[in-house]
Symmetry: C2
Subunit: 224 residues, 2 copies
């Protein structure tokens, strides 16, 4: 992916993760192409990449839509995050250098400060960075590869089923997890990560019948 596509990719992904683009919304190639001053070709490449990350669902001859996660799909995401992150944090405890831990400490500090003048969108971003930092410390690029996607998906899931981001507790949890890693207390760190993920999941209101309409015509099309 070259710089032009990367630019488009980052923008769309951010719009989805920041919940500017809501689940089920259609992403029309031509509109995006015109917005970025390019042809449809690079846009199509970006939409495909996003579909492999499950942030976008492409339906043949219909188009690309921001992914709607069913209750079951959402639970799968949390389950896989628990598996990967509990392993990652264990590896992190064993493998992180003192240098890396200091850097990690700074990140946690910044997150705490960011929370003070809490911008919702910044909170999403900071929280994601925290979790991905643990993946980095674990020294296996697949942790980062997979968790990058799963964490982005979590943002969409939260935008569907709840209002969890930016909670004060998130920051405190992160700080406790950091402390455990810093003291290289594997078992405690794993326990805290699992609890943390559980708490996020528990703030959600899983309603099978919930539907966010992508447009007014969508909302009313069955009522005429």
């Amino acid at each position: 992916m070259n710089s032009k596509e990367l630019e488009i990719y980052k923008n769309i992904k951010q719009a989805i993760v920041h919940q500017k683009l809501r689940p089920n919304m259609q992403l029309v190639e031509k509109e995006i192409a015109e917005a970025f001053g390019v042809s449809r070709t690079p846009v199509r490449n970006v939409l495909r990449k996003l579909s492999y990350e499950r942030l976008v669902k492409i339906i043949e001859n219909k188009g690309a839509f921001v992914t709607w996660f069913s209750v079951n799909e959402a639970k799968e995401v949390f389950e896989m995050r628990q598996i990967l992150e509990s392993n990652a944090v264990r590896y992190a405890c064993r493998l992180a250098t003192e240098e890396q831990l200091r850097e990690f400490g700074k990140l946690v500090e910044v997150e705490l400060n960011t929370y003070q003048d809490a911008d919702y969108i910044e909170a999403i971003q900071m929280s994601g960075k925290f979790h991905l930092k643990i993946a980095e410390l674990a020294r296996n690029s697949y942790f980062h590869l997979y968790l990058e996607d799963l964490i982005s998906q979590t943002s969409v899931i939260i935008s569907i089923y709840g209002e969890s981001h930016g909670k004060k507790s998130t920051c405190l949890h992160h700080h406790h997890i950091y402390n455990a890693i810093q003291q290289r207390d594997e078992d405690l760190a794993v326990k805290l990560v699992i609890e943390h993920l559980k708490e996020i999941e528990d703030t959600l209101h899983f309603d099978e019948n919930l539907q966010i309409p992508a447009s007014l015509s969508d909302l009313f099309q069955n009522k005429l």
Copy 2:
């Protein structure tokens, strides 16, 4: 991905996994397009998908090449497989229905028979199916999603560093693992899976300096 692209995708992926296309070989768009009687457009889409699966590496303005895995990358693959498969097999023990276990049993039988008239390529395929079946039984689509890729990557890694596939021991291991799952003995199943993966990894000869040339010009380019 539509049926046309799927056809191309399956063919190229199979050629890589079956080691017809060797690591570092270039995949020229035009050649592939002509071979399948299509334009470059769908071929490019397929190559991109394969690059997201890490079977192909795309270098800007140079082209697509079958991925070469470094020793470190190879070890990451095995490490992540151990994490995912040990979890998957645990879930499988808990969640698989009796019906699913019977089906699984048949698969193991077939694998044993296939081994008798052992075709190397069939052995690769059967072994992959076994591992992916466990991912299915675990009832979380991410197991299958991730392991599908990791298992394909393993084939390429074996083609670089060793000659492990099709061993008799593989089949026996699989049978033992199946028995453990069938008896829902989680801890035993996990232990056997970890041992099995370790043994595959141990048959490899990790040589940092190993290089498979993609062509003669590649081989001699540093010697002139």
